[in-house]
Symmetry: C2
Subunit: 338 residues, 2 copies
């Protein structure tokens, strides 16, 4: 777990790279109807999942995703030493109420939609540091609970501009261990807050693209790599607007990632037929696409090395209503076939 | 950093115990008028700190506390590799807006008022794991922003029952390194969610005491210790109601900690003259008391070994209004004079 302590660097390279030994994805019906539909482990027949509130539905998705991932790893819950979990809701209520039963010591995390990267970074540091035989990373989002938390009551039926994204109803869980499986995490680049002054909460891609650029550039510097050293560079939920901004910003810094770049938010929906505008978002978005699409390709060796970069827009309705900007953050995780 | 992987254990014992090499506390005027007033590094003359909102004031406290702690460690900001920060507000806006300028890679954390323990646990795991020469832990709370976030508009002037606590306006920052100073973190016991079904958001002590009991009991089991092995067992913000419940619950499990127990929420205010009812609370409470009162006593060797247990009540106004319970969580950190 060597760290180059040169000032300005911010990555960790694991000498004993932890492995992602299992994963699971649970999504809502809209995600099930999208292009990745057949690859999710569980597609709920409706977005309520049998609960009477969206928040409880989101908690239930987390619970199901975690149990599925633990089951796939052929473990029992008690063997998972620590859980790194988060969601988008105020005070992480999807996580708090979803994981009481599991009784795994919990580190609650918030990095907006970048939380999947944050949780994988901390879980991998924990396993590589010898602190746990097994650690789990778990995140979720829900269209209904997120609209209520950040925007307008759904009953208003307000019009969404084309730059807006659609919050993914879904939860992804990952179990990490020192060995097992065919995907390892060889490094992480935890991100800094990047604020370019964007204030439009209907254009999250523009808020987050500068942070994605900063973290990806830093990853290239710290590991002395070029875009071509990755088969794919996969952001979380920039959507079609943020995707174009990221390509442009990195070109200004001398790197062209247009061949390698992919975005989970663009992949998860068919924007034309599903009315999702710029794409999917939410801290469930990157998580379920990682589990359903990215990890299988890494497992099979179709992709050898991927830079996975969940992106987050840091706002609340209070900060937005007080006229604050929307800073971004992005945490990068290097995943390799093994 | 040995971990006993026996099922049921949840603590980490550091072989290379990281040190808390500096700390700082910034508080509001009410805290400055309390019994610990003279020990805080900076007492703001008013709770706005020159800002036009309470949220921005809280961000400013975080910024000041972090810079003070980094300065006391005789470091420049760029030397701090990772920052573990959090607050009580929805989507951690005090942390997001307080730390953009510092440009330290940030792990956003949420554990309600237990976040000070969570941040110290992760920062110490990071330093002991060799991932950073210097890591910082930072938390805050603010009476004005917390009342707005969780309870009633302040203008209502609603009556508070005697079981209610008063959210501390304050921020505490800590810099950790492999060596330096006279306090080391020799172990941590990250906590699980404990839900006894309490639903009263004006009685946080009752919500959190069972979680404190669970974590302290687990710490005794994992390290094979008795209450007398600690000079003090210091909870975050149980207040006078939670204090009595904790003593009773641990007695039922065979441990009497009445001699060792202390609570930051009880220490920070003079309940009789300051109208704070059950005591102080908030994730600034444990942090500023740790910096101003606990660490100095550990540094001087007045206390040799302390169990520091910040406690959190996991609710949001949404979960509360939807009739959910208020689960608790507590993260314990073992600190020793060296």
């Amino acid at each position: 777990m060597a760290v180059d302590q040169t000032t300005g660097k911010q990555s960790i390279e694991f000498q004993n790279a932890p492995h992602i030994i299992s994963s699971a994805s649970v999504v809502g019906p809209k995600e099930g109807e999208g292009p990745l539909g057949e690859w999710f482990d569980l597609v709920a027949p409706d977005a309520q999942l049998g609960e009477d509130t969206w928040e409880k539905a989101e908690s239930t998705m987390q619970k199901e995703a975690l149990q599925l991932a633990i089951g796939k790893a052929q473990l029992v819950t008690q063997q998972v030493r620590y859980l790194f979990g988060g969601d988008l809701l105020a005070q992480l209520i999807a996580t708090s109420f979803g994981n009481g039963d599991a009784q795994i010591p919990l580190f609650g995390l918030y990095g907006a939609c970048s939380t999947c990267g944050e949780s994988l970074a901390l879980a991998s540091m924990t396993v590589a540091g010898g602190y746990a035989d097994y650690a789990a990373a778990l995140t979720s989002s829900h269209f209904g609970s997120a609209e209520k938390e950040f925007r307008f009551p759904m009953g208003y039926g307000n019009q969404r501009p084309l730059s807006a994204t659609w919050t993914v109803t879904g939860s992804g869980a990952f179990v990490l261990a020192a060995k097992g499986g065919h995907v390892k995490i060889t490094g992480v680049t935890p991100g800094k807050i990047v604020d370019m002054g964007v204030k439009d909460n209907m254009n999250m891609g523009a808020c987050m693209a500068p942070a994605a650029c900063d973290t990806i550039y830093q990853n290239f510097m710290d590991f002395n790599r070029q875009p071509g050293d990755y088969d794919k560079i996969i952001t979380g939920d920039l959507g079609s607007v943020g995707h174009r901004i990221l390509i442009d910003l990195l070109k200004e810094k001398g790197f062209d990632i247009s061949e390698q770049h992919m975005d989970c938010g663009i992949e998860i929906y068919d924007a034309e037929t599903q009315d999702t505008h710029a794409g999917g978002s939410g801290c469930g978005c990157a998580a379920v696409v990682l589990s359903a699409m990215i990890l299988p390709k890494l497992r099979k060796g179709i992709w050898k090395r991927v830079l996975f970069v969940p992106t987050g827009a840091l706002l609340s309705k209070v900060s937005f209503n007080e006229g604050q900007t929307i800073p971004g953050i992005a945490h990068a995780v290097v995943m390799e076939h093994c």
